[in-house]
């Protein structure tokens, strides 16, 4: 019988009767990737598309992200959806600072990625000016399929991330280059 429900595949490892051995980093990566709790930061129309993404037709919950976290303390990924003005930049940076490690950032839509059509004095030309971004989703606004695709791509990044990365000097340097304390 064909299996309709797809479950997460076990990582490569040595299998035997009654035991399974693999690398810890792959298990941790698998656990992290399939339970990414989003912190939605929706300021405009991309946020409306995100609502559709969380709805029953597209259902982000299928990928382990059904629990939206409206506090940065429990969130794993910050999803910035919409136009971010320069006055709003400190707010978004504070939210990123207050998220618990490990944390990832997703810029959804043209505005969050690059400022979009708002090439004006008041709009931040992409959130990567203030915080490090892991994945960009193009579109103005992107369709829910595109947001899902972005999350699946982010899951690949999370799976491959070294478990020691957040303690390395490079990571500290990266944060320092964004002036994040």
């Amino acid at each position: 019988m064909e299996q309709k429900i797809k479950t997460v595949q076990a990582p490569d490892g040595i299998e035997g009767p009654g035991f399974f051995a693999t690398k810890l980093s792959e298990v941790v990566g698998l656990a992290r990737a399939n339970s990414l709790w989003p912190m939605p930061f929706a300021t405009s129309c991309c946020g409306i598309e995100f609502m559709a993404t969380m709805g029953s037709t597209y259902d982000l919950g299928r990928f382990g992200s059904e629990r939206l976290s409206y506090s940065p303390r429990q969130a794993d990924m910050l999803m910035v959806m919409g136009t971010i003005s320069k006055k709003f930049a400190p707010v978004i940076r504070r939210i990123y600072e207050q998220m618990a490690e490990p944390k990832w950032v997703m810029a959804v839509g043209a505005c969050a990625s690059s400022g979009g059509i708002f090439d004006t004095y008041s709009v931040l030309q992409g959130i990567d000016k203030i915080i490090p971004v892991d994945i960009y989703v193009p579109g103005c606004p992107p369709r829910p399929e595109q947001i899902l695709d972005g999350i699946l791509k982010l899951q690949e990044i999370v799976k491959k991330e070294d478990i020691r990365r957040r303690g390395t000097e490079e990571y500290d340097k990266l944060l320092k280059s964004y002036n994040i304390k």
């Binding site: 600072e97 618990a100 304390k181």
Partner: protein, 122 residues
């Protein structure tokens, strides 16, 4: 078939493992997971904005009274919805029962008015 208390020890072990696993995973993930702290991270989360003032300030007791009154009438309305839906089925019997219920609530309302709880201006 007879069973003694000894037979229930596996259940006890099962409970211990279930509780122990939860406690151990929470404890170990906090111990091994990456963490960074800074003065900005340790501040209260106020939607990304610095918090202003102190939340522990005195405010008018009238707010509390309004909240309590709301609970009273909220429950009344919750009971009235199913009554309205089943109005015909419940018949005169239901009318009497709801009448008694509403009478009790109205006594509460009259008490509030007598105690001037609804005079929000003074």
């Amino acid at each position: 078939m007879e069973s003694t208390q000894i037979d229930f020890i596996p259940i006890l072990i099962q409970l211990g493992i279930a509780g122990g696993f939860v406690a151990a995973t929470i404890f170990i993930s906090g111990l091994l997971g990456p963490k960074k702290s800074s003065i900005f991270k340790d501040k209260n989360y106020e939607s990304g904005i610095d918090s202003i003032g102190n939340a522990r300030s005195p405010f008018n007791v009238k707010y509390f009274l309004v909240a309590i009154l709301f609970v009273l009438f909220d429950i009344e309305v919750i009971f009235m919805y199913p009554w309205a839906v089943n109005f015909r089925e419940m018949g005169t019997d239901g009318l009497w029962k709801m009448g008694i219920f509403l009478f009790i609530v109205v006594i509460g309302l009259l008490y509030e008015m007598k105690r001037r709880a609804l005079d929000l201006d003074d």
